[in-house]
């Protein structure tokens, strides 16, 4: 065995350690700087408008009125709806993949899931704008408006571009995230537990239902939160398909009406904004979005910790 210079290796080890501490600290520092920048730049809006940003429903940059509620509502609504639609589809894909799919189909399926995740969001935007929007207008929105248009949330006119369309596009963007993580998680079900239930006469579905999903549920919950985060923060595709109108949800509550989200509001106005207050208000929107995502992640973490503490996992 070659002689090792222990002093050299000790030095090497401690240099390495400080290097790691350094890069970790960098991550924390980045976040703090970013957060500070948002607060600092939105300060004019916070000090002048105060809480009225969080309660106001009108956004009129000429009059200096900046109410964020429709944007917040649009963000939360479209992201939550998209996630809710994506959950059953993604779990369906994951269960088919882990329990039923032959290995040849598995490799094709996982390739397509990865491809779906890799598509840049601007392409989803173009596709939504040109392909899905007219289709949804003719085959979904118009029939529904015709049949039950008297219910306010299904009221016409049927624009293609709408909060509904944005939610659908977001659903498609969230599916690969939740499904690929769920495939990993369900695939990790301990074989001994699976066999235990199968030996009692369980079908494949019962095995997934009573062993696979319970075993993976915390991970699946995390995957769902990750998907929700993706939907909340998505900008490009949403800006292209949501129609950017501030009338939803107060002037009209129809799902088929154009609306706005925090991200699409910022993306469509920031470069045109000239007044300090207008810019600051847009940056405050960004701050609100960051706080929303942080809150959701914190609550998710609390739920996970509490479930772990109860002891089953």
């Amino acid at each position: 065995m070659p002689r090792r210079n222990s002093r050299f290796f000790n030095l090497q080890d401690s240099v390495f350690k400080y290097l790691l501490i350094g890069v970790s600290a960098f991550v924390v520092l980045l976040f703090i700087t970013l957060f500070y920048m948002l607060i600092d730049r939105s300060f004019p809006s916070i000090s002048i408008n105060g809480l009225s940003t969080l309660t106001g429903t009108v956004w009129n940059s000429a009059a200096g009125i900046f109410g964020a509620v429709p944007a917040i509502a649009g963000t939360l609504f479209s992201a939550v709806i998209a996630t809710l639609f994506a959950i059953p589809i993604s779990l369906g894909v994951a269960i088919y993949f882990t329990e039923y799919a032959p290995s040849r189909i598995k490799s094709v399926l996982s390739l397509f899931i990865d491809l779906l995740a890799a598509i840049p969001s601007v392409i989803y935007g173009i596709w939504g704008l040109w392909v899905i929007s007219p289709l949804i207008k003719i085959y979904v929105q118009q029939p529904i408006v015709g049949a039950i248009g008297f219910i306010p949330i299904f009221a016409g006119p049927a624009y293609g571009l709408s909060i509904f369309l944005a939610s659908m596009i977001l659903t498609i963007m969230v599916i690969p995230i939740i499904s690929s993580l769920s495939i990993e998680l369900l695939g990790g079900t301990p074989p001994s537990l699976r066999e235990g239930l199968i030996s009692l006469g369980a079908t494949k579905w019962e095995t997934v239902r009573h062993v696979g999903i319970p075993f993976a549920r915390l991970g699946i919950f995390s995957a769902i939160i990750l998907g929700l985060g993706r939907a909340l923060g998505e900008t490009m595709a949403v800006t292209m398909v949501i129609g950017n109108s501030y009338l939803w949800p107060f002037e009209t509550s129809s799902l088929f009406a154009p609306a706005t989200t925090i991200t699409s509001k910022i993306a469509s106005e920031l470069y045109e904004a000239t007044s300090t207050l207008h810019i600051a208000s847009l940056i405050e929107l960004a701050l609100i979005l960051l706080v929303i995502t942080l809150l959701i992640n914190t609550v998710a973490r609390l739920i996970i910790n509490r479930t772990i503490k109860r002891g089953y996992y």
Binding site: P190, S192, E195, G196, S199, L200, G201, A202, E206, Y313
Partner: protein, 253 residues
Amino acid sequence: MSNSTKLDIQNLNAWFCEKHALKNVNVKIPDKEVVAVIGPSGCGKSTFVRCINRMHELIPGAKASGKALLDGVDVYGGMDVMDVRRKIGMVFQKPNPFPNMSVADNVVAGLKLVGTHSKKELAEIAEERLKSVGLWEEIKDELKKSGASLSGGQQQRLCIARALAMNPEVILMDEPTSALDPASTAKLEELVKKLKNEISVVIITHNVSQAARISDMTAFFYLGELVEFDETRNIFEHPKNPLTERYITGRFG
């Protein structure tokens, strides 16, 4: 001691992809007796047992041919596969209680799937089965706890209770004591002897003296073939095949 035949296995062959793991096995498993399955590692003991309740075919690339007649009905063809597994229970090498279910729910996990029992009936069955595996007195105050919170020996008896709750006609055990301490092993052996009053037991063991202690019949496997099958007393006192003699006297394996 020759009871009627419970399981009549005829020309059973099994493969893992190209590997011929079990070669033309013919055995008659008697009713209400303990059959020990012995042999060196990789000789096909587990494959043999897992073919009986059709768990073998769950492994990708695995297949089996032949007949296994349970009271004259072939488990390959004559019965629904889920039904086969309900009638032929299984206990695994490593205790595998469901950690997401309470002790009581673990016992009735299979019955809950069937869904024909009321909550009250399920609770009664759980109690009855925990009593029959000698676990009731030890854990009757912990029924709500997770099945994974018990000790290894208790977990294994819980798994036996879980298999028994289905009212199986045969119970298969794949080295059930190999992960247990000596005291738990002794308890489990007592339980096996008691079980044969009600059902047939097929138990794989690595431990030759365990086979001698608890079984009525012994099957010796070697390289995928059934070398010898006879009353345990004959196998241990007058083995017909020199391979059997060498194995039980510990000269290989």
